[in-house]
């Protein structure tokens, strides 16, 4: 099913460009004195005594603080506007270091301590702040260079070594020297013809000093590139984007957020993200003019892993854009939202987001036992320093927990960030002068029973229901809600929801198609086929729009034994040659018609297009088996099992092929794996009984036949096999 998701490629800003100020009142430390000299005649021990008892020195105390907290950005070629690697650097900027650390402008870190236990906290400890202040007050002594720590090493290479794939913007972008901040979206098409899983990513903006932050959105369908056919190479202005999420339930799962002090984004084990042929990366950048025109030539380095995700996180958000209508001059405008979790889950990270009027941003959870857990609190929001915050340990929230957000906005003239002077009424929107109210979470559903439906579907359903309660007519939410219901098998409800959406746009190809799928699921296959035909008609001459409904029509005809299916699949493959599922569907018909040679050809093409399509591997195994190539069948089923380890049918098929090749014990293992996933399969228990009997495991065989008969007392083969076994006793 096609689905659309509203995604904030949200413009975010991390404080990369640290501008240092100097207040006239601060002349006491503004005038950099000459570094105090060590007493020339002092011995080493005397020097140590002197420095220990007196003020901090750069060598002993301050260098390590700067290296740990500042140098990631402040090194030659780094994102910071100047380096802090040497004593001379520190002395040059010492007064400003004190100012920005005392005010906590630097290092950039917005969350209040104690309101969320985050990893990679950048907030200086009170001790570190005091050290810097004492050092500056003492006129910034160098101390004994011999005891200074070695500076960290930075070079211009990729931090994680050469990436497996480097994507570059189509054309360099020139940022003007002056003016306001710029939000720009660059499209980087994924050029490969096969799917890859991404374990890590690094962005190299080209000129990091002008980049506050970058945020990557995956455009699964290349929709944005089609929307701007003539301009996409130059990038498009804008802060937020909405992209089409493609035709399978594939919710956004990762914060692909970059800021200058975390240039390499490494995903947790088992949680890579995926790129398919035809996908685009949309690189949204917040740029700050430097005073001279700067050329931005960004590139993204991707690091692959062969392993598919073992865990499927998901991004959800609390949001109140609908409630944003902030009167001019209102210094304390509040919006709130809440959401009750339908499943147990772990929260891995949080991403608060507003624009320039946001001030106080709170997120918390009320557990079913009434306990309150803070998720994040930002008292002084600053869009320039926004970030994704990852928890030190995933935060377990049981089903029934209520997530809350409460954002306060300041649309008065005393808000220095207010883009309007004098203030004007502000509503939600994707320009920087509009506002937003979002609190995103990366969550991982846990405690999911084996064989249960994908818990993200229930999460999606509940999330969309919550959105619709706020904005009942929102088509994206309505579509995603209906699609989630259909995904969960709640077809009747899904039909109702799709019909509601269709009443708003009766000729929408996607909705007509999705409604057909839901009707088919509800058993109304004749109606379903009518909807598919309506969708094909609505698509008109646009072959690409007709791909999905024609595939669904062909599949329906195939399922219901209608001979038109073959012709429909052939039309589909001719007009949509990259449709791997259609190629697989056509091949299934060919297998049934004993045309294994043609089937192998189509399936090989399907796998070239989409190597991750388990069904294509499974069908190719069938085609090989049909032509007597058991080793070929075995190889394909093993790939299918890897791709879809929770599919009982594939394990069962593999068991049969293993049995045919004489590997009986492995066949038993696979059949047991299948039954572990699908315990109420009487045929499966009967097959296990046969395998056990063939290996001489009579009691196990008897147990298996009896199990089959308990599930289906009339199971003829199980009865006969059990009787035969008993006659041999």
């Amino acid at each position: 099913m096609k689905r659309i998701r509203s995604i904030s490629a949200v413009a975010t800003l991390a404080a990369s460009i640290a501008f240092f100020s100097y207040w006239r009142e601060s002349t006491v430390y503004g005038a950099n004195p000459a570094p105090p000299q060590e007493p020339a005649a002092a011995s080493q021990s005397e020097r140590k005594t002197t420095t220990v008892e007196s003020s901090p020195t750069w060598s002993r105390d301050v260098a390590s603080v700067l290296y740990k907290n500042c140098a990631t950005c402040h090194h030659p070629g780094g994102a910071g506007p100047f380096s802090l690697l040497t004593y001379a650097d520190a002395r040059r900027w010492g007064p400003q270091l004190m100012t920005v650390t005392q005010s906590r402008f630097m290092p950039p870190w917005l969350p209040e301590p104690g309101y969320g236990d985050f990893a990679d906290v950048r907030r200086l400890s009170d001790h570190e702040r005091d050290l810097i202040k004492q050092w500056v007050d003492a006129k910034m002594p160098q101390g004994d260079l011999a005891i200074a720590p070695a500076p960290p090493h930075y070079d211009a290479n990729w931090l994680m070594g050469k990436p497996d794939l480097i994507l570059k913007v189509a054309r360099p972008f020139t940022l003007p020297g002056g003016g306001t901040d710029v939000f720009r979206n660059f499209i980087l098409p994924y050029p490969l013809k096969e799917t890859h899983y991404i374990r890590a990513m690094e962005i190299r903006p080209g000129t990091p000093q002008i980049v506050h932050h970058a945020n990557i959105t995956i455009d699964r369908t290349g929709a944005l590139r089609r929307q701007f056919p003539n301009d996409w190479q130059n990038g498009m202005a804008g802060m937020e984007l909405m992209v089409d999420a493609g035709n399978r339930f594939d919710p956004d799962s990762h914060f692909l957020f970059w800021k200058p002090d975390t240039p390499a984004l490494v995903e947790p084990p088992g949680m890579p993200w995926r790129l398919d042929p035809g996908n685009d990366l949309i690189l949204n950048m917040h740029l700050k003019p430097s005073g001279k025109p700067e050329t931005l030539d960004a590139e993204v380095g991707l690091y692959f892993t062969p392993d598919a995700p073992a865990k499927q996180p998901m991004l959800i958000d609390l949001e109140r854009d609908d409630a944003l209508d902030i009167p001019a001059g209102d210094a304390s405008f509040v919006v709130e939202d809440s959401f009750t979790l339908p499943v147990d889950l772990e929260v891995m990270g949080v991403y608060p987001h507003a624009h320039y009027l946001g001030r106080d941003m709170q997120g918390w959870a009320i557990l079913p036992n009434g306990e309150k857990k803070w998720l994040v609190w930002i008292r002084n929001w600053d869009i320039d320093r926004q970030a994704v915050y990852r928890y030190k340990e995933p935060l377990l929230l049981p089903k029934g927990t209520v997530l809350h957000m409460r954002y306060t906005y300041d649309n008065s003239s005393t808000n220095i960030h207010n883009p309007h002077a004098p203030p004007v009424r502000v509503r939600a929107g994707n320009r920087s002068e509009d506002e937003m109210a979002h609190l995103w979470f990366q969550v991982l559903p846990v405690n999911v029973p084996a064989g249960a439906p994908d818990p993200r579907l229930l999460l999606e359903e509940t999330w969309m229901r919550a959105r619709l309660s706020k904005t009942p007519g929102d088509q994206v939410s309505l579509y995603n809600f209906a699609a989630a219901l259909a995904g969960e098998g709640k077809f009747t409800e899904a039909v109702s929801a799709f019909e509601k959406e269709l009443s708003q746009s009766p000729h929408d190809v996607r909705t007509l198609t999705a409604l057909g799928v839901a009707l088919e699921g509800a058993g109304e296959w004749q109606q379903a086929q009518q909807r598919f035909r309506s969708a094909i008609e609505a698509a008109g001459t646009d072959d690409s729009s007709a791909c999905d409904p024609r595939f669904d029509l062909a599949s329906s005809e195939f399922r219901h034994g209608q001979p038109e299916a073959a012709a429909e699949f052939r039309t589909e493959v001719a007009s949509c040659p990259e449709d791997a599922e259609a190629l697989t569907g056509l091949a299934q018909i060919e297998i049934e018609a004993n045309q294994s040679t043609q089937a192998v050809q189509h399936l090989t093409e399907a796998i070239r297009v989409d190597p991750s399509l388990a069904n294509a591997h499974e069908q190719l195994a069938r085609a090989h088996a049909q032509s007597g190539d058991l080793q070929g069948a075995l190889a394909e089923l093993e790939k299918a099992v890897q791709l879809k380890p929770d599919d009982a049918t594939i394990h069962s098929g593999l068991s049969q092929v293993l049995a045919a090749t004489g590997s009986l014990q492995q066949a038993i293992d696979e059949q047991r794996a299948a039954l572990k996933l699908l315990d109420d399969d009487a045929d499966g228990w009967n097959n296990l009984g046969v395998l056990e009997a063939r290996t001489g495991h009579v009691p196990a065989a008897r147990d298996a036949f009896e199990h089959a008969l308990r599930l289906d007392p009339g199971h003829a083969q199980a009865k006969s096999n059990l009787a035969r076994l008993q006659s041999q006793d």
Binding site: S21, P176, D382, H417
Partner: protein, 191 residues
């Protein structure tokens, strides 16, 4: 009456003509700069800057704008680089990078810093130029875009330097800076 009196008092703060030292610095070719003003010049504006100061650099387009607007009205704008590490080579490269077209002087002895009583880059000092010499009438920030480190408006609301130059040219009382200059401290000379 009160307002007029107030303006007179303010102006009175800067009544004394400044004695410009005969040697105000060197230009990027190493030649001594002896004159900040000249025939037909009514206003001299010094913009104290540092090549490594990000806020200072971000004001280059604004100074270019002011230069375009006022140069034909007898206003001469100078970029003044007072920091010891801003050598002729460094500043020349910087000016090329930022396409700076205004007059530039290296305040190698920080005479101009003392003359203008500035402490920060960027910071402006504006002098009225007449037959009696130079008289400082404005000193301070260029505009109110920055209120402190990390406190930055999307765009300025008050263009203090622009207003000061305009007032001089209109022979009106010169409004004073609405807040302290924000940027980087001027590095003192090693004794």
């Amino acid at each position: 009456m009160l307002r007029a009196a107030f303006a007179l008092i303010l102006a009175g703060m800067f009544q004394a003509h400044t004695s410009v030292p005969p040697d105000v610095g060197i230009d990027l070719n190493g030649n001594r700069v002896r004159q900040l003003s000249g025939p037909g010049i009514h206003v001299v504006a010094l913009i104290f800057a540092a090549t490594d100061c990000p806020i200072s650099n971000r004001y280059v387009p604004e100074i270019e704008r002011l230069n375009r607007e006022f140069t034909k009205q007898g206003v001469r704008i100078w970029w003044v680089f007072p920091n010891p590490e801003d050598t002729a080579t460094t500043v020349a490269r910087h000016n090329q990078d930022f396409a700076i077209t205004e007059n530039t002087v290296l305040d190698t002895r920080q005479h101009l810093v003392q003359l203008a009583h500035v402490t920060t880059t960027p910071e402006a000092a504006v002098f009225k130029s007449d037959a009696n010499g130079l008289r400082e009438v404005y000193r301070g920030r260029i505009d109110d875009r920055y209120l402190s480190i990390g406190q930055e408006r999307p765009q300025p609301q008050h263009h203090d330097l622009d207003a000061a130059i305009s007032a001089i040219l209109a022979d009106k009382p010169v409004p004073q800076s609405g807040g302290p200059p924000i940027g980087c401290s001027i590095v003192p000379l090693q004794k």
